[in-house]
Symmetry: C2
Subunit: 344 residues, 2 copies
């Protein structure tokens, strides 16, 4: 189990990244890490977190890092020696089984697409994320791997999301919903209406359109949408969760009764805060690339890095990409089969 | 002040609608209502809520109602005598100053567009809604008037949203943000990137892209997006707010300390619940139509109906559409001026 770990990506990298890597190595005995980044910056941290010289790691130098305000396509072309490109190349060359990065998401996608390529029969990758709901977690995808999406892409996202929900949420026959603006099949935009028709004809548990208004009451185990919508939605829910904690604090400090009440119930606030906590979740898989890629949250803590590494190793162990390929074939959702059905 | 009131639209209509109308008539002395709907169903309710025979109302019969699962375009064509079409026609004919409906949103938009037409120089209308944030309310638009949107439409939404924020939130120079998936101008999809360029050149307080992740911390007073995204976002936040109340309840009932804490602070829960409450908000204006149209929430209570009627009358008094036309001209955002600038 060898994972290429981009130690330069993320708001608190490389410090949080190396601390997380060190914790992961302590927790998972069969893990080996190729730690990718700037040697001069990483060596002191490896020393600090007591993994310098360990036979479980190897430091792979990368001269550059893609900055958050760079255009991903330009950065990938111009910075051939960036940490994310070097990490993806290690997977391509068979030197690592998976790549983990919490850096520039666009750059991670571009680098893995260019270096590792996509799975046979897949046209676009998708970032999937596990979201909380009143009735347990569900999978939302795509949350930002693509800026423009065709109906066939949504169909493939549905199948890849199904495989992920089966594996990560242990759901036998995940209910798949298409995120739209009305329940009825006549509602939606051209993209969703077209995808709706194909999904309806497939041997999957497709339950039709799912509206935003029932999303967190969990009517579907897998919610499929295009990347722009999914990304805005994911980020906005994080923002709303933060605002809600602010409102709760405000409401509970208005008078002495409420303050005492809050003190008595202080553990309750922790429980609520943890529901939306992405630390445990680890990272989000980039589904559809020919190799495992886990994308960490930009603000990843050491704990989040640790769990992202764990998730990558779970994917490798489960031979996740074989499961996707198999299911795309079974459901007639490879690009070739989808196009053939269209022209029939 | 005469308002055409679609009494048949909404989950709890016509009962909640007539109750709300009655309350509005009691609260606003200069109000007159043309109550539109099925005579046989409405008369008993008018009697029940003590406004039958009042000289402040007139019952206008409409034989049909557009059902929630109907296609709006088909319904508007086939049901010429539906309550929403009859109400919109009253405005068109100058018999009413505004229309209020909590029925099928798509049908309300189609009916007002067909009957009342759009303001000169406007290509598409937009539904604007006031959302809460950590730092006070902001305007989000479009939340569902359009299924497909051109860059020029987003530019017009920005200007109309600015006028709404000035009037409704009393903000002198509203900060206008474009909802996107990164702060930098290079981030976004083709639609937002194109709109970004035009908005940057206009005499408005455009602050660039706004990400979902800061939305509820309020970096912008007006957040502009296409209707599909806005609708999903609006509904999903409602769903998340509901789930959050569930999680709070659950967390506060886990052990006796927390239960006592919750009892002591029980008014705090009310405060939190009220933040997202759409009842006070009333309705959402359909901006850009040649006449005032307020769209109520599908689950409108009597109170929500009352406030939607109040909002419509505020719009009429403020001569809101004159303000929009004037501002579109000032900022060079009429369709003609935008197209001229493009071709230069």
């Amino acid at each position: 189990m060898i994972i290429a770990f981009d130690a330069m990506g993320g708001d608190y990298a490389p410090d949080a990244a190396i601390k997380g890597a060190s914790e992961a190595l302590n927790s998972y005995p069969d893990l080996r890490l190729l730690i990718v980044g700037h040697r001069g910056r990483l060596e002191p941290l490896l020393k600090q977190y007591k993994i310098l010289g360990s036979d479980k790691i190897e430091l792979v130098h990368a001269e550059e890092t893609v900055m958050m305000d760079e255009s991903s396509t330009i950065a990938i072309r111009s910075k051939k020696d960036s940490s994310i490109t070097v990490a993806a190349t290690l997977v391509k060359e068979g030197k690592a089984d998976a790549v983990v990065s919490a850096g520039h998401t666009g750059a991670a996608i571009a680098a893995t697409k260019v270096r590792m390529r996509l799975l046979p029969g897949v046209e676009r990758p998708a970032i999937a994320i596990i979201m909380p709901s009143e009735n347990g977690p569900f999978v939302l995808l795509d949350v930002g791997a693509n800026m423009s999406t065709e109906p066939l892409n949504l169909v493939q996202f549905a199948v890849m999301g199904e495989v992920y929900a089966k594996a990560a949420l242990k759901i036998k026959s995940p209910r798949i919903g298409l995120l739209s603006i009305g329940e009825e099949d006549v509602k939606g935009n051209d993209l969703t209406k077209d995808a709706f028709r194909t999904l309806s004809s497939m041997p999957i548990n497709f339950i039709g359109n799912v509206e935003g208004k029932v999303m967190f009451q969990k009517f579907a185990d897998v919610v499929v949408c295009e990347g722009f919508v999914g990304n805005v939605l994911l980020k906005a829910t994080e923002s709303l969760a933060k605002a809600t904690m602010h409102w709760i604090k405000e409401a509970f400090s208005k008078n002495p009764y409420r303050i005492v009440g809050a003190l008595l119930a202080k553990e309750a606030f922790k429980d609520i805060k943890e529901i939306g906590d992405s630390e445990e979740r680890g990272g989000a898989p980039l589904l559809g690339v020919n190799g495992i890629c886990i994308i960490g949250h930009g603000n990843s803590s050491p704990k989040a890095f640790k769990h992202a590494i764990r998730e990558a190793s779970d994917f490798v162990k489960a031979k996740f990409n074989d499961l996707i390929s198999q299911r795309l074939n079974e459901t007639g959702a490879t690009l070739e089969l989808l196009r053939k059905n269209r022209s029939d």
